[in-house]
Amino acid sequence: MATVQHAVHDTHGAFEPSLFGTYSKKVGMWLFLASDSLTFGALLFAYSYGRISNPAWPTPFGKESIANATIMTACLLSSSLTMVLAVMAANRGDKPWVRNWLLATMFFGAAFTVLHAQEWTRLIADKMTPSGNPWSAVPLFGGTFFTLTGMHMLHVTIGVIYLGVIALRKKFLPVLLVLWALGFFLTPADSVFHYGIHVLLVGAVISAIVLFLKPKDYDANDVEVSGLYWHFVDLVWMFIFPLVYLMSTKV
């Protein structure tokens, strides 16, 4: 009787009902997302502020860039669809389909990141840097672009790792390590992604710690909570895409 389990199991009504009417993990994730939306919001406000005070803002994104970004957007939107289908499958208790839909979500997420990385590489090859660009004398153009999309790319990458852990658990670790190694050897040594890819290594280490210290079967709630994070990342892109890309289409 001395342990807390008892207290909790014996007296199901020992607590007041949750004020948010749902389980704690979901509340926690929503609160995190509220704060993360302020983090992104502040970045978007910094971007808009800079844009307003620099009227000569360049508009360099031509057909290919916009097409590319539109495809990326479609990828993210589709990944949200597959994510919500994974949650549905989890609620039916249909484990194989949870995994399949999660893998599909990860596929779209990864496709988004790869497309975006290629876009970055092109822009960098065009001599766009955080402090300057060939199209104008407004250094903030590059700075805001790389900050906003970089922060978002980081969130997508974390999301893919998160979903991978939920979908495959320990089996995901070797996959992640292989992706890291491939990324490291396939990117040229002077590319930012040669170093950026180490996010995967860090992710693998953290995932390993979580998976070994707290091994468990992820249930429908875990899937739903991971879905919340994923949809949020999608949502943020719905603002970055028009503000950063569409407002800078080449005339």
Partner: protein, 104 residues
Amino acid sequence: MHDVSAVHGESKGTYLWVWGALLLLTAVEVVLAYKQVLQPVRMLEVLLVLSVVKAGLITMYFMHLKSEIPRMRWLLTISVTGCFALMWIFFFRDADRILTLGVK
């Protein structure tokens, strides 16, 4: 384990519709932007409204905020949008000022 889909009261059909609507809105945004249909400021406004609609669809349907209890729904959305509204009101006024008063 409770039956979440029953609680959410949504089906594959709804999700497909939402997905379609999101894609459609994206297409509208791209066309508007690419054809430069509107003047910059007006276009920004239209794009932002469309983005807010998209964000609303995502939170309400994909994130199931629609089926959370009203207290949670309203407290979360109001606190976050309230902060944004404040930033909107007070930040941009000064971004303009630099143009009109300051050294460029």
